[in-house]
Symmetry: C2
Subunit: 339 residues, 2 copies
């Protein structure tokens, strides 16, 4: 059996062209997704393996990406730890009961919390079967710091001041919480791999709100623990959005790949990581609204700057809801056409 392009790129093996997928490729901009969204609420879609499977496969079938990524949400983990999570369509998450005290921490379920997520493993098994090895399957989780942000702030935010103030004024509680999340995340990701995930990505969507020094305290150690615990099970991609200053250190972790947002040039990222690790990214999702010839030219320039090896073409963040399907396709085609 020939190994998939994505796995080869993560192992640093020679490829003819870079593999390509898009963050949030399942959902939002796809008409078939919107039909399901109008029929079933968010958690029904996430918790019903047949629906999660159908949504996961849509971009593989319709856009031609080189990987499937499980349709789910990073907030299913706090939910599995006993926190109520509401997801209002187009309004973002809301957690009515936030974490502020030692008692709140004690009330969280840690032991066996990963078993509250059996619907995820069931979905992965089903997707794996339906994929029939066409493309690899990506599992994922939120990074501990990013999950802390939601668990303390209780909702999305521009700057997560409340969550950061908790870290700075109650550092011991913060570290206890981060460790609890890390422990559950490790078991959760191991079970995702056991259920069929060929690799996993850890999304640290808000780590870029931290100074380099505070990233080292509140994010990096937990990302490293996860990479260390998982790498013998499956390749790990870490995506610390905004934390350009951490790339050098993370290139020395057990991760196989680092995700990049668009606020760093490919050249700077290669320099920071000394070409030690596979890089993934980093097309500005807003640029998918450009005319198709311009999208294709920009993708080509991006690949030229990253180089074709040790590279996974992707966006620098999730695809936006207002992107026309043929523009998303053009992005994928541009990578596949690269010579």
């Amino acid at each position: 059996m020939t190994e998939h392009l994505l796995i080869k790129a993560l192992k640093g093996e020679q490829v003819n062209r870079p593999p390509v997928w898009m963050m949030r490729q399942a959902g939002r901009y796809l008409p078939d997704y919107i039909k399901l969204r109008n029929q079933y609420d968010f958690f029904t879609r996430v918790q019903t393996p047949e629906l999660a499977c159908a949504i996961t496969l849509q971009p593989v079938d319709q856009i031609g990406v080189d990987a499937a990524i499980l349709f789910s949400d990073i907030l299913v983990l706090p939910q599995a730890m006993g926190l109520e999570v509401q997801l209002v369509e187009n309004k973002g998450p809301f957690l009515p009961k936030t974490i502020t005290t030692q008692n709140d921490l004690e009330a969280l379920q840690v032991r066996d919390a990963e078993h509250n997520l059996n619907y995820v493993y069931d979905a992965l098994k089903l997707i794996k079967k339906e994929l029939n090895n066409r493309v690899p399957l990506i599992g994922f989780a939120g990074a501990p710091f990013t999950l802390l942000c939601y668990m303390v702030e209780g909702k999305g935010s521009k700057s997560f001041d409340k969550a950061k103030q908790f870290c700075f004024s109650e550092p011991e509680l913060a570290h206890q919480l981060l460790q609890k999340i890390t422990d559950v995340t490790i078991e959760y990701l191991k079970l995702q791999v056991a259920a069929g995930a060929d690799l996993v990505q850890v999304f640290d969507s808000w780590s870029g709100m931290l100074s380099p020094e505070d990233f080292k305290k509140f994010s990096q150690p937990y990302l490293e623990q996860i990479a260390e615990a998982l790498y013998t099970h499956a390749p790990v991609i870490l995506f610390p959005k905004g934390s350009w200053y951490a790339l050098k250190d993370l290139a020395n972790s057990k991760a196989s790949g680092l995700g990049l947002d668009w606020c760093i040039s490919p050249r700077m990222a290669r320099e920071a990581t000394s070409n030690k690790i596979t890089l993934q990214g980093n097309f500005d999702p807003c640029k998918l609204l450009q005319p198709i010839p311009q999208i294709k030219a920009d993708v080509k320039a991006m690949i030229n700057e990253f180089g074709t090896q040790k590279y996974i073409a992707n966006l620098g963040h999730g695809i936006l809801p207002n992107i026309p399907v043929d523009h998303a396709k053009a992005f994928v085609e541009a990578v596949k056409e690269f010579r």
Copy 2:
């Protein structure tokens, strides 16, 4: 007459300790400000020179900062260009009519628009008189890209996708708009200096949403034009929040200082700018909620890393509303006590 610490630091002259002020020092967390806020709406406070003056002086008298910064808002400029701007307390700005077409652009007032801001110059004259040369007076404006963000998006946003999509899909219109804003901003800042501002700061609050390449297209040329036009009138500080990648280029502009957010270490910023230019920042505002001894220790560490010369102690972004007054004072005292 001895020159003020802040001006000396901007000129690169020897100082005994760094000067200190805080972004958004006038307002929010100060009880005397909150009293005025409860009496007068936002634009009444901004447009009434006596009120703007009283608010501007509060932190000088009560917190002991080394500079006064005009109490105003960056959105008075789009307002002066004919756009309606609503500022709802604790909700952020709202612009009912946004810029999307050539016609929208043509309808903007450019010629003499700066004369619609006479209340700003009146406020500066009054503040200058009341200050009686105790500390220097800082004028300011929003950077063209940041103002474009609001003028196109119509409101605050986490990522200003709509504004960026406008730049990418209508680059010619975007550049026309940026040039119009730049032209008015230059006249506006010159009149601020004529009215008494000893230096000016240009806030590019959203430039960090741009890739390094797009910053070079949509932000940097306009910042450079402003610095070039103003530097013979007064020292200019550019604050391109989040655009760490641009520091090297901007160190070669006509600006006298560069503002930094906390997402870069002082050492990295000194390296990027080769110690060519005065740096300002970059304490994480969330850290002002820490216990006072910790604030003081962190400020000391920050100054040690920046060095005392060519340095202005400040926050990395505006002070937050929930910061106790004695914590803000502790920040300022820690700088003044530095040995």
